[in-house]
């Protein structure tokens, strides 16, 4: 048995059975238990698809995905996922949306009735952490875009998942809120020893948080470059201004630019192809 | 040609052969009439259809018409041609039930639709037989349900038209021999049965009514001559009917309700003034009506063809 927690082995995925064009092709990615991985790449390259593959939401068309030593068939039950679009349930208010995973995932599901008060307090605490303490009774459509995104993040965290999948969780937040939440996330991860996969467009965010940053090619997506971030932990926000940090960001930037350049024949100007 | 809308009391069955025959053979056309004949959903319903002006003429239960007239004097209809001189009203029970005389019905359960004429005039029957009207219990059900309900013992007896229920029961496997049948006419009930009734608007056109009745009389004459041939016209109109069954039904109707002693004596279509008055009294009593109409208000014999023409038996 390998010592990887997540293993993606030469995976292809076609969204439409009949459609030959693949969303990801020849995807290989290994993630160690407790590792914090960031995935970056041009828009539409297959980052969200990657997350769906790991969590079992989409079965691979070819290749295999293994999580925790087991072949992924169907979905797992120790995953927390923040989707790219905050898909909050419109008939639940914010607090009850956050509580949803507790109603589904064991052991919380069984304990929920007896320890209602404790769980409620935990949810409220989490809401406070992201600055939504005063908004727990609001329905999703009464929240601003950034507030929805924060609620979405809370929902991914509430049930203490072992594997955390975050799809651009801070995209709609202002710089300060965002940086604050970086620190919250880093701390949480250290405490609970979470394995995290973070999809983001913000290279600084990727480098600040991750142990390894993977760069994906444009569609059909595959990993074209992986960069280990060897900055010491815990990292303070000041690290962003250190030359080593800036250099990594710069290096990654270069990789993405190259990926997109190839892309000029298949991506941004794909009409030409 | 004058259009005349004619509603029957029920589906296209044997006993209405004369009208279909008259239409098919052009007897109505000969009188300058363009008659359309529609099936009905009950002899009381037929009264309503004529009263509302939806139809000009109906083949309907005269008792229901009397009731309607008392309740709605401004739209009072008139009967102009009596067809069922004896009402086909009857009570049926299975022999095995031990019911042998009308008084045995006391304490029993009877089944029939609420609008069933025999049921509605039941008190005339009880008055004639000495049965206590309050001692029976009625169960209400759609017409086609009553025979199966009797068969399965869910009711002890049913009321209905003699020639309908008898054949229905026969059809279901109870021959007439296994039944006890009390026909109202056999117990001295004076009631009349179905008649041709017309709306007040029609009465204003005596020639039309007269012509209509002439044609009807001819139709009956042909039918009495050769019932089997008459049934063919029913079959022509409704391809679904069972010719043998309808022929039996027609013959039963003729035997028990149409070709009665008094009809043979006075010709088809006529009524006896005295008996009519008694019949009206019976109806008034049975339906608990607030007033008693005069016989002239119920039946108008002035449109009938000459007696010779009506002596067709």
């Amino acid at each position: 048995m390998s010592d990887y927690f997540v293993e993606i082995d030469n995976v292809d995925l076609a969204y439409n059975e009949d459609d030959e064009s693949l969303a990801v092709q020849g995807l290989n990615l290994n993630i160690r238990q407790g590792e914090f991985v960031a995935v970056v790449g041009p828009s539409g390259c297959g980052k969200s698809t990657l997350l769906k593959l790991v969590t079992g939401l989409k079965p691979p068309t070819r290749g295999s995905v293994t999580v925790d030593g087991k072949h992924v068939a169907g979905t797992l039950s120790f995953v927390g996922m923040a989707f790219q679009n905050p898909t909050l349930l419109p008939w639940r208010n914010t607090l009850r949306n956050i509580m949803l995973p507790l109603e589904i995932v064991e052991p919380h599901r069984g304990n929920l009735r007896s320890q209602k008060a404790a769980y409620l307090e935990r949810a409220r605490q989490l809401l406070r952490t992201v600055g939504l303490g005063a908004h727990e009774a609001k329905h999703p459509w009464e929240l601003s875009g950034g507030m929805q995104q924060r609620a979405n993040l809370c929902r991914a965290l509430i049930h203490d998942p072992r594997l955390l999948m975050l799809d651009e969780p801070f995209g709609a937040l202002d710089a300060f809120t965002r940086e604050e939440l970086w620190c919250v996330l880093a701390e949480l991860r250290r405490e609970k020893k979470l394995t995290v996969v973070l999809v983001t467009h913000d290279l600084r965010e990727a480098v600040f948080l991750a142990d390894t940053v993977h760069v994906m090619s444009s569609r059909p997506g595959r990993i074209v470059h992986s960069r280990h971030v060897d900055l010491p932990r815990p990292r303070a926000l000041d690290v962003c201004y250190e030359p080593a940090f800036v250099e990594i960001v710069h290096e990654l930037r270069g990789h993405i630019e190259r990926v997109r350049c190839v892309d000029t024949f298949g991506g941004i100007d794909d009409s030409v192809a | 040609k004058t259009p005349v809308r004619f509603t029957l009391d029920w589906r296209f069955e044997g006993p209405i052969a004369p009208y279909l025959l008259a239409e098919a053979k052009g007897y109505f056309a000969d009188e300058g009439l363009n008659v359309t004949i529609d099936s009905g959903s009950g002899s009381a319903g037929a009264v309503n259809r004529v009263a509302t002006g939806a139809y000009d003429v109906g083949f309907a239960d005269i008792n229901a018409m009397i009731e309607f007239n008392v309740n709605n004097p401004d739209q009072a209809l008139k009967a102009v041609f009596m067809v069922y001189d004896h009402p086909p009203f009857a009570i049926f029970a299975k022999k095995e039930s031990g019911i042998a005389t009308p008084t045995d019905l006391a304490g029993k359960t009877l089944g029939a639709p609420v609008f069933d004429s025999p049921r509605k005039t039941f008190s005339a029957f009880t008055a004639a037989t000495g049965l206590d009207e309050a001692s029976v219990t009625w169960m209400s059900m759609d017409p086609p349900l009553r025979e199966p309900m009797l068969l399965r013992g869910q009711v002890d007896a049913i009321s209905g038209f003699y020639f309908t229920s008898l054949l229905n029961l026969d059809n279901l496997g109870i021959p007439a021999d296994d039944l006890v049948v009390f026909r109202y006419a056999d117990y001295g009930v004076q009631l009349y049965g179905n008649a041709i009734v017309v709306s007040p608007q029609m009465l204003a056109q005596p020639e039309v009514v007269k012509g209509f009745l002439r044609a009807v009389t001819k139709g009956w004459a042909d039918t009495l001559q050769d019932p089997a041939a008459a049934i063919a016209y029913v079959r022509q109109r409704d391809g679904l009917i069972d010719v043998d069954l309808e022929l039996r039904r027609l013959n039963l109707a003729i035997e028990t309700s149409v070709a009665t002693e008094s009809a043979k004596a006075n010709g088809i279509g006529a009524v006896d003034e005295e008996r009519l008055a008694k019949a009206i009294d019976e109806v008034v009593h049975a339906f608990n009506l607030p007033s008693t109409p005069a016989p002239e208000a119920i039946f108008d014999s002035s449109f009938l063809p000459e007696k010779e023409a009506r002596m067709i038996f």
Binding site: K52, T55, G56, L57, T75, L76, S77, F78, V79, M81, F83, N85, T87, L89, P90, W91, L100, P101, E103, I104, V105, H139, W141, R155, H159, M165 | A44, V47, N48, A51, T52, E67, F68, N71, N72, D74, Q75, P113, V114, F115, K120, W138, M139, S140, M141, D142, P144, L145, P148, M149, R152, Q154, F287
Partner: protein, 253 residues
Amino acid sequence: MILSRKNLERYSPLIVTIIMFAAWEAVARLARIPSYILPPPSEAMMAGYEFAGPITTHALQTLYTTLAGFALAVIFGMLVGVIIGSSKLLYRAFYPILIGFNSVPKVALVPLLVIWFGIGTTPAIITAFLISFFPVVVNVATGLATIEPELEDVLRVLGASKATILLKVGIPNSLPYFFASLKIAITLAFVGSVISETVASNAGIGYLMMSASSRFNVPLVFAGLIVIAAMGIGMYALFAALENRTTSWAFRR
């Protein structure tokens, strides 16, 4: 008297009802429609008043059979709707049969029911059930079949079972349409029980109407119709209140 918008909204059903009755009364009187064709509502009301006692008894009987049949329809309708709505195979397999069954007028089946269960309450309940069951099935099934996969994924990623997804997403998502189907179903349930009563029963508004019409008491027939309509509206008010409490999220505007 000038009504505020809010009061106008509150009393609008009443106002419309009154206008409708007034129009009916006017037409019936001015056109001199005889009361054995279409009695003016005032006459129907008077007949209703005159026979208030029997009407109440019969109405309660009808209400009872209707509600019993309706309750069965909701329970089984949801069950079948859930089964059909969550499996494409079962959807394809059973939908046509259901459609075929529902195209058949239930009156035709009442005689069967009467022969099996005897005259009275049971056939009425079953008829009400049979007639009102289908709309619930259709709307629940449609509600489930049109869930956005994105919402479903939220639960799937947590390892939720099909049943859980149904409970947490499917049902709430189709709730507005479930209520819409209840509104259709309750009216049909009334129709079903009344029809069954007209075919074979000694009690209920259906029997009352049948009996009144056989005595040419058309105003009483209409009184019966009005009573049914009123009961239907009463039941609707109940659902509307329930709907307001549970699905206001869907009607936010």
